[in-house]
């Protein structure tokens, strides 16, 4: 279970988050909506450790993760995608996924500098090699890399990018780049997946496919999902539970229909006049 308790996040004078609190139960899909600049992305940034909140605490399964660094939080099983894509554009599609995948296998198997933090994922002894195996390309390197590659290709197939594996990621069409980000996040074998506007820039057909993809991976990978979106039909379709923000404050929380009929939510959107609900 992920829990935010009274999170404040200030940038200079701007209060991006103001006493934000909510709980996310295991296995749920939660939608986060709100006008632009409401603080949605900032929520993901404080959860994943990009920023440390000005005040408040974040708990993952009862453990305080607020002081941890981004990479440590990641290894506890939280993965995310980015609103403004952050792929390794010059590397191949496959390499993008392998880069992520290796961390939850090779690296977490070898490095125990997290101290008391146990990686969320059980390391796979089939994928494991050290620096000297890498230098000499010994058998362990070959087997591990092969397994890693197969696993990554499997994930690419899952998001419909198997035939693009060798292409440079930056040359993919926009919608595919968004799906590649999802594949890359899944390669981390997370327990919690944070999706930041995964449908932005997609056409209706792609949004429909994305809809199925999200519900599919939710079931197959036993994920807890938080999704930020402006496409209300996507939110209504896949999220039984929705949180609405405005000016860094949580103004409503509940089921989709409750949110849609909440006067404060309507006012927030009418006030900015940018979204239809």
């Amino acid at each position: 279970m992920l829990e935010l308790v009274n999170i404040d996040m200030a940038f200079g004078g701007v209060k991006a988050l103001d006493h934000m609190s909510f709980k996310i139960s295991d296995g749920s899909i939660t939608g986060i909506i709100g006008p632009n600049g409401a603080g949605k992305t900032t929520i993901f940034n404080v959860i994943t450790g990009v920023y440390s909140p000005t005040a408040g605490k974040i708990f993952l399964n009862g453990r305080d993760i607020t002081p941890l660094k981004a990479y440590q939080i990641n290894r506890l099983g939280i993965a995310r995608t980015f609103q403004n894509l952050r792929l390794f554009t010059r590397s191949s599609v496959l390499e993008n996924v392998m880069t992520a995948a290796q961390n939850h296998y090779i690296n977490s198997y070898r490095e125990n500098f997290l101290g008391s933090i146990q990686p969320a994922v059980k390391p796979d002894p089939k994928i494991n090699y050290g620096f000297f195996d890498a230098l000499l390309h010994l058998g362990r390197w070959r087997n591990s890399e092969r397994t890693l590659k197969l696993n990554s290709l499997e994930l690419l197939a899952r998001v419909g990018l198997a035939d693009r594996a060798d292409q440079a990621a930056g040359t993919l069409p926009y919608g595919m780049q968004r799906r590649l980000e999802i594949a890359r996040a899944l390669a981390l074998s997370p327990e919690i997946l944070l999706l930041d506007e995964p449908a932005a820039g997609m056409n209706p057909e792609e949004v429909f496919e994305l809809n199925n993809l999200i519900t599919g991976i939710h079931k197959d990978f036993k994920l807890t999902i938080l999704v930020i979106e402006h496409h209300m039909d996507l939110i209504m379709n896949i999220c039984p539970h929705v949180i609405c923000l405005n000016f860094g404050e949580k103004i409503a929380e509940g089921s989709g229909s409750e949110i849609q009929n909440n006067p404060e939510v309507l006012a927030a959107y009418l006030g900015t006049g940018e979204e239809e609900i």
Partner: protein, 302 residues
């Protein structure tokens, strides 16, 4: 695998092809320069940390090896390795405060620290004989030694870049925030790159000492550091085969103009500017030689 066999064949050819003394010298020098350039390439080309002070690590390697062999009679092989590790040790101490910096801040700091190391070597007269230089080093860098070490390190480098560590370095080069959110401890990644590159430069300096039989702090000044980084850019940032080809090309061009030595540096400067103006991506861009062979050069590297 094919690539490594290819490298070994090149190595055997370089080591055993019958040549005159002059050509032998050029081969040794090329190998020495390539080793240092590979080190800088790992840091600058593959991790995106722009250094202008790596000649200092060559100096550390050169002096450590020279002192160990001449003063303490250590065999040259362990002494060379010790030279590499001395560079690693100092790089680690320097890396702790400076790797937090990015961009031009790191570049200027690396100039400062490189010069500082050179000045310490220069002023530590009792150990290093100061600016007059350190003579009488055993000429242990034969063609055979230089080629073997170069080919070995080249194979290691390519292998390393094609495994987890290579992906880790490139991830923190291309997007350090994304890398940390994919579970990489990015400060540690940057440190790894610095230590590896310092090791290569240390080895290169150690070999240079054994080739020249004489070392002097001024051989490892900012000019030398600049040259190393320029070679890496010339070869193509993010292309290790480019680094090696570029390094060999520059070494040969400079040798070719040895007779008109006063124009050498001038030509070198013009070369730098012309390359940056007309082909800033360098010889190879970020592709490797075999990418051209495999895909006919069509692989898209936006």
């Amino acid at each position: 695998m094919k690539r490594n066999i290819f490298l070994i064949i090149i190595g055997i050819a370089l080591a055993f092809w019958p040549l005159g003394g002059y050509q032998e010298g050029i081969i040794i020098l090329t190998c020495i320069n390539c080793i240092a350039a590979m080190g800088v390439s790992i840091l600058t080309g593959f991790t995106g940390i722009f250094t202008l002070g790596h000649a200092a690590y060559m100096a550390l390697g050169a002096y450590t090896t020279a002192i160990l062999t001449v003063r303490y009679g250590v065999h040259y092989i362990p002494a060379i390795i010790a030279g590499g590790f001395m560079a690693v040790l100092i790089a680690w101490l320097i890396g702790i405060p400076t790797l937090k910096l990015t961009g031009d801040y790191y570049a200027i700091a690396s100039i400062g620290l490189g010069e500082a190391i050179r000045l310490i070597i220069e002023n530590w007269q009792s150990l290093t004989r100061g600016s007059r230089g350190f003579p009488g080093i055993d000429p242990y860098t034969t063609r055979f030694t230089a080629v073997i070490i170069f080919i070995m390190l080249a194979i290691f480098t390519f292998n390393m870049l094609e495994s987890n560590i290579g992906r880790e370095l490139k991830a923190s080069r291309d997007d350090i925030i994304a890398a940390s959110l994919l579970g990489f401890n990015t400060p540690r990644t940057r440190m790894k790159a610095l230590l590896i590159s310092a090791f290569y430069c240390g080895i290169s300096g150690a070999l240079l000492g054994g080739y020249m039989s004489f070392i002097q702090p001024s051989m490892f000044d900012m000019m030398k550091s600049t040259e190393l980084t320029a070679i890496v850019v010339f070869g193509g940032l993010g292309s290790m085969s480019g680094t090696i080809l570029g390094s060999a090309a520059i070494t040969l061009i400079m040798e070719y103009f040895r007779d008109i030595s006063q124009y050498r540096m001038l030509i070198y400067g013009v070369l730098l500017v012309v390359i940056m103006v007309f082909r800033p991506e360098g010889l190879m861009g970020s592709r490797e030689l075999w990418d051209f062979l495999k895909f006919g050069g069509k692989k898209n590297n936006a």
